[in-house]
């Protein structure tokens, strides 16, 4: 059941109905006990009265019977209509077994065969409750009984008196519950209408001061989601804007170089311009690839698929992928295993993120290496982490810039002018996702970029 209104309606109606029924059952039981007690007392009293009246012979048994019945205390729920009159029947039997006298309402057959106390009997299909008392002086037995059907009818009438209004009122109650629940849920409807009326860019939080206490946790969760969505959206927007700006500069370079190539008569200048165009296209495509990588890392949030990755093998794969770049920069990659252990350094991680991090580190090292230099890759494993170190003989990163190098589009204050400023932000973002850590170190002529991944 997906509607809170229907759910509340059904629950309320069912519980109200159940309480009502329970009350009716309770009243039924207690009324029955009470009626039983009162009517039994009357039977007993009437029997004793008849017995005492006839003892002194001051009154004829038949008159005594009628008097007892007439003077008996009224039943507790006596109604105006005649159905409850003449309920009692009285018989006086000699101990020998002959009928001495009986009241008008009493049948001619014996009401009961016992001599003392209460008993329930059935005569001609009618059930009776009979009180018997023996009068030893006269040698008679007095029986006073009433029909159980009359008792049942009495109780039935009491219950009917309770249930009929209940059944009549039930639809009214249902309508009232339905309307009340609707009213009670009105704040939700209001919030929903407010949200439905929003455009996609309206991500301001809902004011949780005016909403009911019960809905507040939902609103807070929603507001926090709004916050996160707005943040992601802003990040995306600023990223798109920034990326567009960053692409405009190489485009401007391409255009000017193309115009130079078109208008010059000097074949040297023309060749130079064309070669710069080619270089610029390479760099720009690298930048575009990095932008796509960055978007991929961004999108990988929460979607990481961990698998065992042999880090040294991965570094080797990446190095062979970068063959063209290596050749163009006349740089060689040397793979080193720090601790000659036969066991490969295996990491349980997202292969794509790991590859992006290492690839960008390696590319950075290649880009900044002098021609003919070697880039060393070292993979080592300790108890708690796998460490990938990339060592190059380039100028390194000035200590002052270290904190900022992972910012997007930051190129360093002494930049050579051909990086996109994205490489290390990709590395940092990927490492963040992988729970890794990026540090830099200088050792002699070597600049070390160290990525450590917890196992």
């Amino acid at each position: 059941m997906n509607s809170i209104r229907i759910r509340l309606f059904v629950i309320l109606l069912a519980t109200t109905g159940a309480v009502w029924l329970l009350a009716a059952a309770w009243i039924y039981a207690s009324t029955q006990a009470e009626v039983e007690r009162v009517l039994d007392a009357r039977l007993m009293e009437a029997a004793r009265m008849v017995s005492s009246l006839i003892t002194d012979h001051r009154i004829e048994p038949s008159a005594a019977v009628d008097a007892a019945i007439a003077n008996a205390p009224p039943p507790p729920f006596k109604q105006a209509d005649g159905s409850y009159s003449r309920q009692l029947s009285c018989q006086i039997w000699s101990l020998q077994g002959s009928l001495v006298s009986r009241s008008e309402s009493a049948p001619e057959t014996s009401l009961a065969s016992h001599t003392d106390g209460f008993e329930e009997t059935e005569i001609d299909g009618e059930r009776w409750r009979v009180y018997a008392v023996v009068n030893p002086t006269l040698g008679v037995r007095v029986l006073v009984g009433d029909s159980l059907e009359i008792r049942d009818r009495l109780i039935g009438d009491v219950i009917k008196g309770l249930l009929v209004p209940g059944i009549v009122i039930l639809p009214v109650l249902a309508v009232l519950i339905w309307v009340s629940v609707g009213r009670g849920l009105a704040p939700l409807t209001r919030i929903a209408e407010g949200l439905a009326g929003r455009s996609a860019s309206e991500l301001h939080p809902i004011d949780d001061g005016t909403v009911p206490r019960e809905v507040r946790p939902v609103i807070r969760a929603l507001n926090s989601l709004f916050g996160r969505v707005a943040e992601a959206r802003d990040r995306e927007q600023s990223f798109t804007a920034y990326a567009a700006h960053e692409l405009k500069t190489p485009l401007a370079g391409l255009k000017t170089q193309a115009q130079i190539a078109l208008r010059t008569d000097d074949s040297t200048i023309q060749r130079e311009a064309l070669s710069r165009i080619s270089t610029s296209v390479d760099r720009t495509s690298r930048m575009v690839r990095q932008l796509i990588d960055l978007a991929a890392v961004d999108a990988s949030q929460g979607a990481a698929k961990d698998e065992p990755v042999d880090v040294a093998v991965l570094v080797g794969e990446i190095a062979s992928e970068l063959e063209t770049q290596l050749a163009a920069n006349e740089v060689h990659v040397a793979m080193e295993h720090a601790d000659r252990t036969p066991q490969p350094a295996v990491l349980e991680a997202d292969r794509i993120l790991l590859r992006l991090a290492i690839r960008n580190l390696l590319e950075n090292a290649i880009q900044h290496s002098p021609k003919g230099a070697v880039v060393r890759c070292r993979v080592s494993e300790s108890q708690s982490e796998v460490v990938v170190e990339i060592l190059d003989q380039g100028p390194g990163i000035p200590v002052a810039d270290e904190a900022r190098v992972t910012e997007r589009f930051f190129r360093g204050s002494k930049a050579s002018g051909h990086g996109s400023g994205l490489g290390l932000s990709i590395v940092q973002m990927a490492l963040d996702r992988l729970g890794g850590n990026l540090t830099f170190e200088r050792g002699g002529t070597w600049f070390v970029a160290r990525a450590s991944f917890p196992i």
Partner: protein, 220 residues
């Protein structure tokens, strides 16, 4: 005209340098704010092109420092940020013009000529002296509707002289207009090109002021 270009993208910088040289400018190129500040301090330029986003700061900082120190050299801003607000900020900071990337080389050249012209208080694009007129956009001179073609260096020298008629420009003044920092100055270039100009425009058009330099002849 001597230009300073501040741009950190080496391919674009090279394009501007080579392209603007082809348009008759002499270009000095720097890639950082610090270098630009030093160059502006040390040299005089006819116009300056500033990129906005640089590794060590913003071209706007260079611009505000220039304007604060009273430097009125015309400045053209080049930037990838192309929104109205950015353009307003740039112009309000003291820039003379603004151009969004990517741009057309001819447009950059035309805008440079325009801001330099305005700096000299001239409205017309053509420079005129007596019966000779010089068209900086075409890098050519004309007399009596007859076009006189000029080499780049001839054009640079003639333009410098015609921009300040009557003022004496020394040989080193003219060399500054002809050569950027990295270019090696050939010892007698100025003399050679003055000679060529005289043969094209008439011997009396440019006069030599002994020991001082050259100027356009004012008397008949």
């Amino acid at each position: 005209m001597r230009l300073l270009v501040l741009e950190d993208d080496e391919i674009l910088l090279d394009g501007l340098k080579v392209g603007l040289q082809m348009c008759g400018f002499t270009v000095d190129a720097v890639t950082s704010v610090a270098d630009a500040d030093a160059a502006i301090e040390a040299d005089r330029f006819d116009a300056i092109i500033l990129d906005l986003m640089l590794p060590d700061g913003s071209g706007l900082d260079v611009l505000s420092r220039m304007r604060r120190s009273g430097d009125r050299t015309p400045v053209l801003l080049l930037t990838a940020k192309d929104e109205v607000a950015d353009r307003i900020t740039g112009l309000d900071s003291g820039a003379d013009d603004y151009l969004g990337k990517p741009f057309d080389l001819d447009e950059v050249a035309a805008r440079l000529r325009a801001i330099v012209r305005r700096g000299h208080g001239r409205a017309a694009g053509l420079l005129e002296w007596k019966d000779v007129s010089l068209d900086p956009a075409r890098m050519s001179a004309s007399r009596d509707e007859i076009t006189i073609s000029l080499s780049r260096r001839e054009f640079v020298i003639l333009q410098a002289l015609m921009e300040t008629p009557g003022v004496i420009l020394s040989r080193s003044n003219l060399e500054e207009k002809l050569y950027g920092w990295q270019e090696e100055i050939e010892s007698n270039t100025v003399e050679v090109h003055i000679h060529k100009l005289r043969s094209k425009l008439g011997a009396s058009f440019i006069e030599t002021v002994r020991g001082a330099g050259y100027r356009l002849r004012t008397s008949q």
